[in-house]
C-alpha cells in the first residue's frame, strides 16, 4: 500500500515549525506508507482574512518545509482572494517559482464570490489544482465566508479547465456528495471530522474512485485513523490505489 496525503497542516496554529517537528511529522507518515504530503500551510493562524504580509509569511513557512524535506512535502499556496487581483496573482507567481504545486483556499470568502475569478485564472494559467475548504453550511450559518459543497461544486462547474479539490468528505456529508456528482473537474478529499461509517461508501457509489482522494487534515486528525477509515471503504485494489495514491499523483503531476 502507498498513499499521498493531499490535506495536511504540518504547521498548525503556530505549532510544528521546526526541522525536528517537520521530520517527526514526515516520519510518522512514512511509517504508515504515506509517501508524500501536501502541506496546505498554517491557514488560520492570522484568522479568516490574512493580509498580504501574513499570506507571504504562511507560504514562506510552507516553502521552508519543502526545503527541509524536498522529497516529502509538496506545497500549496495559501491565498486570501479578498485581497484582490494584483496581490493574488503576485503571490501565486512567487509560489509557483518556489515550486508550489497548488492553491489552497480557506474561509476568507465564499467560493461563489467574484473575487475568485483571478484566483481561478491564475490556477488555469499555471495549470495547478485549487483545494477549497468546504463544509456543509446546513448547521454552520457562516456561508458568507465558508463554502458549502454547493458553492464549491458551482466553482468547479464555472471553471471547467481548473482541477478543484473539495475538502472534507465527512464535513460535506451525503448532500455534499450529491452536489459533487457529475462534475468532471472536481474531486473530494477524504478528510474532515470523525471516522463516520457509511459516507465513503456513499461517495464511492455516487462519485466513483476517480473522484476521491485521500486526505487526513493532520494534525487535527491522526494518520492511522484516516487511513483506516479510507481502507475500510468497499473498493477493489485498483480503486484503492487510485483513491490513496493514483488520483493525487495525477492531480499533482508527480
Amino acid at each position: 500500500m502507498r498513499a499521498i496525503d493531499i490535506h495536511t497542516h504540518p504547521v498548525c496554529f503556530a505549532k510544528g515549525y521546526s526541522r525536528r517537528e517537520a521530520d517527526h511529522f514526515a516520519d510518522l507518515g512514512l511509517a504508515q506508507s504515506i509517501k508524500r504530503m501536501v502541506s496546505l500551510g498554517d491557514v488560520l493562524v492570522f484568522g479568516a482574512r490574512p493580509n498580504e504580509k501574513q499570506i507571504r509569511f504562511i507560504n514562506d513557512q510552507t516553502h521552508q518545509l519543502m526545503r527541509w524535506r524536498p522529497e516529502y512535502y509538496i506545497g500549496f499556496c495559501c491565498l486570501n482572494p479578498v485581497l484582490g487581483e494584483r496581490p493574488v496573482l503576485q503571490e501565486v507567481e512567487r509560489c509557483i517559482a518556489l515550486g508550489f504545486r497548488g492553491i489552497k483556499l480557506e474561509i476568507s470568502n465564499n467560493a461563489r464570490d467574484a473575487c475568485m475569478k483571478p484566483v481561478m485564472a491564475a490556477a488555469a494559467r499555471w495549470n495547478v489544482p485549487v483545494l477549497q475548504h468546504t463544509w456543509s453550511m446546513t448547521n454552520i450559518k457562516q456561508r458568507r465566508m465558508h463554502s458549502d459543497p454547493e458553492d464549491t461544486a458551482h466553482l468547479a462547474r464555472r471553471h471547467p479547465n481548473v482541477q478543484v479539490i473539495m475538502a472534507h468528505l465527512t464535513g460535506c456529508g451525503y448532500r455534499g456528495v450529491l452536489e459533487a456528482k457529475g462534475v468532471d473537474n472536481l474531486v473530494v478529499d477524504t478528510s474532515g471530522g470523525f471516522p463516520e461509517s457509511g459516507i465513503l461508501d456513499y461517495a464511492l457509489q455516487h462519485l466513483g474512485a476517480d473522484h476521491i482522494v485521500y486526505g487526513s487534515d493532520l494534525p487535527i486528525r491522526e494518520t492511522g485513523v484516516t487511513l483506516q477509515r479510507t481502507l475500510a471503504g468497499k473498493m477493489s485494489p485498483a480503486e484503492r490505489e487510485k483513491v490513496l495514491y493514483g488520483n493525487a499523483r495525477r492531480i499533482l503531476k508527480l
Binding site: 511529522f25 504508515q32 448547521n139 471516522p195 463516520e196 457509511g198 456513499y202 491522526e222 483506516q228
Partner: protein, 251 residues
C-alpha cells in the same frame, strides 16, 4: 483482550452507518479482535420511553455473551424507579444517560433524588455527551452536545459518583482538568489529534481511559488504529484495552 465500552445496537436514521443485528454486531466486533462490548440500544435514544428498547436489547443479546447490554435510563421521566429496577437486572448493573437527547441538565436539582438512588443502589453510570459530530447533526434535531461546564458542575455535585463519560474530546478533557474534576473516566472514541492516545496519556491518567470504538457510528478499524499505533507502555496499553474496563465494571 480488548473490551469496547462504547457500542450501540440499532439503526440511526440520519446516516448510512451499518444496521447490524446483534449476531452480526458480535461477529463484526470479534473479527476486529474485540472480545467484549458494552452495547446500548439506539432506539432508546429517540424513543419516548427507553424501557421497550432496553427489553429488546436484553432479549437480542441473551445468547451472545460478548455483548454486554447497558440499558438506557431517562431520569426526566416519572417512572425512573421502574427503569432502575430493570437496569439492576443487567449483568453489569450499569445505566447509560443521554442528557441532551432526553432534555435535562445533569446538574438539575430535580434529578438529585434520582442520582441519590443510583448511588444507594450502587449502579455504575455511563454518561453520553454526544453520539455524533454536532456540525453534521440532522438539521431538525436542534440540540447541543452536553456542555463541559455542566459535566463539571455535575461531578462537583456528586463527588462520590465516578461516571464513565463517553464522547469527550481532548479539549473537553483539558477543560475538565482545568476545572479540577477528577472523579470520572473517559472513553477514546472522540479523542483524535496527531498521536491521539499518546497525547491523551501525557495529560490524563491512563487508569481513567477506556477503549471505545463507537461502532457502528464510527469505522471500527479507524477507532482501533489509534490504539494500535499509539506509543504506550505495555501496562498502559493493557489498562486502556481491558484492565480499566474490568476494574470499572467489575468484569
Amino acid at each position: 483482550m480488548l473490551i469496547d465500552t462504547h457500542v450501540h445496537l440499532g439503526r440511526w436514521p440520519f446516516t448510512f452507518a451499518p444496521d447490524y443485528t446483534a449476531k452480526q454486531l458480535a461477529a463484526h466486533l470479534r473479527a476486529h479482535g474485540i472480545s467484549h462490548a458494552l452495547v446500548s440500544p439506539l432506539d432508546a435514544v429517540l424513543a419516548p420511553d427507553p424501557l421497550p428498547a432496553n427489553r429488546a436489547l436484553f432479549s437480542a443479546v441473551r445468547r451472545l455473551p460478548a455483548l454486554l447490554p447497558i440499558p438506557t435510563v431517562n431520569p426526566a421521566l416519572a417512572h425512573w424507579h421502574e427503569q432502575l429496577d430493570f437496569a439492576a437486572t443487567g449483568p453489569l448493573r450499569t445505566i447509560k444517560l443521554y442528557p441532551n437527547f432526553h432534555n435535562y441538565r445533569l446538574d438539575s436539582h430535580r434529578l438529585s433524588a434520582f442520582f441519590t438512588e443510583v448511588q444507594k443502589r450502587k449502579l455504575k453510570l455511563i454518561i453520553s455527551v454526544r453520539i455524533e459530530d454536532d456540525r453534521h447533526r440532522y438539521f431538525a434535531l436542534r440540540m447541543k452536545d452536553v456542555p463541559t461546564k455542566q459535566i463539571a458542575a455535575f461531578l462537583k455535585l456528586y463527588p462520590k459518583l465516578h461516571p464513565l463519560v463517553v464522547g469527550l474530546g481532548l479539549p473537553n478533557v483539558r477543560e475538565l482538568a482545568k476545572l479540577k474534576c477528577e472523579n470520572f473516566s473517559a472513553d477514546t472514541s472522540f479523542m483524535e489529534w496527531l498521536e491521539s492516545i499518546s497525547t491523551l496519556v501525557r495529560e490524563f491518567p491512563a487508569r481513567r481511559i477506556l477503549f471505545g470504538s463507537h461502532a457502528p457510528f464510527f469505522i471500527t478499524e479507524a477507532s482501533l488504529a489509534k490504539l494500535k499505533t499509539a506509543q504506550l507502555s505495555a501496562a498502559n496499553r493493557a489498562a486502556i484495552c481491558s484492565g480499566n474496563a474490568k476494574r470499572f465494571f467489575g468484569l
